[in-house]
Amino acid sequence: MRQALVAAVCTGLAAPAIGTYLVQRRLALLGDGIGHVALTGVAVGLLTGWAPLTTAVVLAAAGAVAIELLRAYGKTSGDVALALLFYGGIAGGVLLTAEAGESAATLNTYLFGSITTLSSAELRDIVILSGLVLIVAVGLSPQLFAICQDEEQSRVSGLPARVYGVLIAVLAAVTVTVSMRTVGLLLASALMVVPVATAQQVSRSFRLTFVLAMLLGVVASVAGVSVSFEAGTPSGPTIVLLALAGFVLAAPVGAVLAWRRTRLAPFDPDARLTADHDRAEQHPHEHGPGCGHPAVRHGDHVDYVHDGHRHASHGQHYDEH
């Protein structure tokens, strides 16, 4: 149980951290494609007797780099490149597993998570790899945020944007394989995307989204692992359903916040100062008490009725009110 919880905290932190960048680049499904390739990696491990985690990391990383390069240089569009990865990965995985003489049940533990069968060697790898992902995802966050925000602009800033793009893809591959034992390869992507989607409902900034997503990821995976221990449910689906429940709770809050913002924005006093307010026509006359124009109290200031419209003093000029 303690081991399972440590693994849950690791994946709960790492998956949304790297997932935030994927969602920002509008590559939310990349994790899913990588998961399929990692499946082939697991099968290679089963076939050769090497540790499935190692072979999965290597193959998933290779697949992730391939898709990033296809996207950056190739003529293949992002979603077609993803589709190629999906089908190749799952077909290869199932074929090789059958070749290795393993049953579908063995495959299932990797596809949907099976945290109870975690060995301490695997736990050590999970802690090390997710630690690495976190260090890079947090330490390089200014650069990674910049290239995900606007790749061309950051290239002109002199950032090696393509190197960082490949780095994000590799980190995503490592994260998917690390999440293999807790949520499973087919659901790892959910833990990368769902907490981010939930966090955005209530957040206006990247930093808050990032931190909140990691927090939600940890809560969902720790709670999911505990529930699956108590109720005997598979850990992966339990974690993902809990994460989705969080989204279902947050979505109405987000909708209300967005509605309030759009409803109030046109009348936001801060917005009006910088937004493009109506300037009154040039006039040398200075409005003041007893200037001859009727004065009207308007909120926190006084408007002067001027040829049928109202002027309010603003800096060196008058606004139309």
Binding site: R26, G158, T274, D276
Partner: protein
């Protein structure tokens, strides 16, 4: 004598095998405000993308501040505003966060914002008249305000050259006026500006020189570019209504002389 800020010599650019820019020469000197005008597909965006290093040139040479572009590393001296209708991405981000990314050209390895970065971000937002919107999400801003966020992001590293790709496209009239004020400020500060646009609109009085491209070639260079565009020489478009009266070019010789 200091070299020109931008020196484009006999440059041709091909995109997927199709020639888009053909043997173009262009000089932008320190402190100048130069615009590249032309219709869609005239090659003006392609040319600036090659100048800032986003596209390779097929032949010819591009120099920035006297250094061949492929050896140029001092990217903090160049601010770039890509052609984009929005500053949003898949995750919410505040105006300050987006503008801060522009500072990365000043410290590449440790990107965490310093006090100097925060001061610079405040100044850049001041210049584009968005000082009090720093904590707002960019998604809440209008299209014109988002363009100003991208301009602030390009300005925040205090570049000597600002390259903008159609910042006025699809921007409402009121925001265009604010943009014109922003450019007037920048010109007064001595920033060199290379701007791609469809038409100049309220920017006309600020511009020193315009270059009109058509089918990847320079067809006019000089102060009267807007007039050339209006005559339909830079751009083909169908007029509605009666055929306008023929306007003779007063001085045919001006064609060659406007060029550098």
């Amino acid at each position: 004598m200091t070299p020109p800020v931008v020196a484009v010599d006999d440059v041709s650019i091909a995109l997927s095998g199709r020639p888009v820019v053909r043997r173009v020469d262009l000089r932008v000197r320190s402190g100048e405000f130069v615009t590249l005008l032309g219709a869609n597909g005239s090659g003006k965006s392609t040319l600036v993308r090659a100048i800032v290093g986003l596209l390779p040139v097929a032949s010819g040479s591009v120099e920035l501040f006297g250094t061949p572009r492929q050896h140029f590393r001092d990217w903090r001296r160049v601010g770039y505003v890509p052609q984009r209708s929005t500053a949003q991405s898949g995750v919410p981000a505040t105006v300050t966060e987006v503008v801060t990314t522009g500072r990365l050209s000043r410290h590449r390895f440790l990107g965490w914002p310093t006090r100097a970065d925060r001061v610079a971000v405040g100044e850049a937002l001041e210049i584009v008249r968005l000082a009090d919107r720093g904590r707002d999400s960019v998604a809440q801003l209008s299209g014109g305000q988002q363009q100003r966020v991208m301009i602030a992001r390009a300005l925040v590293a205090r570049p000597e050259l600002l390259v903008l790709d159609e910042p006025t496209a699809g921007v409402d009239q009121a925001s265009q006026t604010v943009l014109a004020e922003v450019f007037a400020d920048l010109v007064a500060r001595g920033t060199t500006i290379l701007l791609v646009a469809h038409e100049l609109g309220p920017l006309t009085p600020l511009v020193d020189r315009s270059v009109v491209l058509r089918d990847g070639r320079v067809v006019f260079e000089g102060e009267a570019a807007q007039a050339v565009l209006d005559l339909g020489l830079g751009e083909h478009h169908l007029h509605e209504g009666p055929t306008p009266p023929r306007v003779p070019l007063t001085d045919d010789a001006a064609w060659g002389q406007g060029r550098v």
